[in-house]
Amino acid sequence: MTAPLDAAEPAVQAAGPAGRDEERPSGHGTLRYALSKAGGALFSIAMVIVGTFFVFRLLPGDPVRNLAQGRNMTPAQLDLERHRLGLDKPLIDQFVDFVGATLRLDLGTSYEYKRPVLDLIGERFGPTLLLAGTGLIIAVSLGIWQGTRAGWRRGSRFDRFSTGLSLVLWSVPTFWLGLLLLMVFGVGIGPIPGLFPTRGIESVDAPDGFAYLLDVGMHMVLPCLTLVAVVYAQYLLVMRSSLLEEVGQDYVTTARAKGLRDDEVRRRHAVPNALLPTVTLVFMRIGFVVGGAVTVETIYSWPGLGQLFYEAVRVPDFTLMQGTFMLITVSVIIMNTLADVVYHWLDPRVRSA
């Protein structure tokens, strides 16, 4: 979207089926659209909270005993615990309490860590943002670049290689790729020594200042590589196919007929239009990235939200699991809604439809 559209060539509108460009200057429609989408998102979030409450009450057996995990407790202790957790109240009261607490961002206390879930999440948020953010930026840039090259020269060797590669990467389970990278580059195999650290975000004796950043960077190489490899294939494929859609359009022929260089036609006309579906997809599929992050963080013991969630599932620590699940889901819903609104704002074709 950095490439400005030629004023004489309203490429976007020319490609639109209806071409109702008179609505373009007013932001009114977008605002209304944003409000309705925000309403929908709020509804979805409410459903997540309600759904979480009921799913976590579906737990087979006594929740208190589940929490206690077979530790010996006297009936009196069990009753006390039940009372403390509010489990002796009717279901409807429990529901009201749960919703109220969630809205106040009180996600309860982790049984495993004996600390508020929200604090734990707060600590783990940074590393996840760092890892997933870096991975996403690399994956998106790489996917768009490679997809553009592949789609622009369809059928070329580069194209066939890229499509084949993305098919393989698409089929590879994230965690297996992580294990392989861990074995080859982390532990080392045969003549290759272990090049990168494989556990955590920093060394035990982490130095200060710039050296510290370098240390974190080294720890990030393998997790980031795994995440990128798995995620970027789909961006590549979508960028490629949406560029293919554009290549046949009239405005591209016009641009060529004007005598623009091939490179210019691609960069200033075709790519900006093909970018829109791709960028939207990036945000629409953010849930997929989140799934990848859980796996990658688990393998490389990255101290982020994904690992926290994984630990909660392993223990199992239901309060923590419930809290992280809600947080992850709500973030994904918000991202999706934002993408929807931004797409609507950027692309007049959607607006006129």
């Binding site: 979805s44 459903m47 997540v48 799913v55 976590f56 579906l58 737990l59 087979p60 369809r154 059928g155 098919l167 393989v168 698409w170 089929s171 590879v172 389970p173 994230t174 965690f175 297996w176 294990l179 392989l180 861990l182 074995m183 982390g186 532990v187 195999i189 490629r240 196919s241 293919l244 953010i286 849930g287 997929f288 989140v290 799934g291 859980v294 796996t295 688990t298 393998i299 969630f309 994984y310 599932v313 392993r314 199992p316 239901f318 699991m321 699940f325 992850i328 889901t329 994904v332 819903i333 999706n336």
Partner: protein, 294 residues
């Protein structure tokens, strides 16, 4: 009336098969699949569950591939080859059944959402969109953890979290089918909801369903292995639980590359076979795609 329709369908099926046979990658995928499925089915004739038992491991621990143990052994001397063979049964079973569940839910919701206009269809789409944004792996993991890890609950967890994309696809197709004049004719002749959806819409969306089932099995196998790796396993040996074992017992540090490589390659081969077969199906069924060569 039915016989005319059936003759036409048989003809279309024949044409479809000859088109499909021209897709080289698709045929290769189909052959790999057939081999994998047959191997999984005949496994009980040669081996039994004992190959996965830690007490009956016959080989040395961490034995590298050799003539006796073509793919080496694991931390308790079990043969990787036999475990991967036996494990294919769980992986494929869960893959197929989870995909089936997902497709059936997606089909019913999709056809209903496309057929019933008005608030019912809108409500169904709302629900679909809601499920679509949920991060499916995270949700499946929660469900598997809560319901406990049996083969059945893993299937349910995968099926329940992956149907929305099928539902959207089928709804779009249903809408386009129902816009055709013969549906109006059928309605005029007194065809009810059941008649129209099962006799007219379903046969028209069936080819699409086939293609998306194939792709769905591929992703269900990946999801199953990921869930198993993340610890929500069915307690049965599958490729995912084998990889979990390789991680738990530090196969990477032991240099036991075969323990990590073999189950993963099994997953990769089967999943790629399903993916290329599914894409070939799509290409045959969708002339627009065929032209674009995507």
């Amino acid at each position: 009336m039915t016989s005319v329709a059936w003759d036409r369908r048989k003809l279309a099926l024949g044409r479809f098969w000859s088109d499909f046979r021209r897709q080289r990658a698709g045929m290769a995928g189909l052959v790999v699949l057939a081999v994998a499925v047959v191997l999984a089915l005949i496994a009980p004739l040669f081996i039994d569950e004992n190959v996965t038992s830690v007490v009956t491991g016959t080989g040395a621990r961490w034995a590298p591939p050799s003539l006796d143990e073509p793919f080496g052994t694991d931390e308790s001397g079990r043969s990787i080859l036999l475990m991967a063979w036996w494990g294919s049964r769980t992986s494929l079973l869960i893959g197929f059944l989870a995909a089936l569940l997902s497709i059936v839910i997606g089909m019913v919701v999709g056809i209903a959402a496309g057929h019933f206009r008005g608030w019912a269809g809108a409500a169904l789409m709302r629900v679909t969109d809601w499920f679509l944004v949920l991060p499916s792996l995270v949700t499946a993991l929660v469900l598997a953890a809560i319901l406990g890890g049996s083969t059945f609950t893993i299937i349910v967890a995968i099926g329940v979290t992956t149907w929305p994309s099928t539902a959207r696809l089928i709804r779009a197709q249903t809408l386009s089918v129902e816009a055709r004049p013969y549906i109006e004719r059928s309605k005029a002749l007194g065809g009810g909801h059941w008649h129209i959806t099962t006799r007219h819409v379903l046969p028209n969306v069936a080819p699409l369903l086939l293609a998306s089932t194939t792709l769905e099995v591929a992703s269900a196998i990946v999801t199953e292995s990921t869930l198993a790796f993340l610890g929500a396993s069915a307690n049965k040996t599958s490729w995912g639980t084998m990889l979990r074992g390789s991680y738990d017992y530090g196969a990477a540090t032991e240099g036991a590359w075969w323990y990590i490589l073999i189950p993963g390659l099994c997953i990769l081969a089967v999943v790629m076979a399903f993916t290329v077969a599914g894409r070939a199906l799509e290409a045959v069924l969708n002339p627009r795609l065929r032209k674009a060569g995507a």
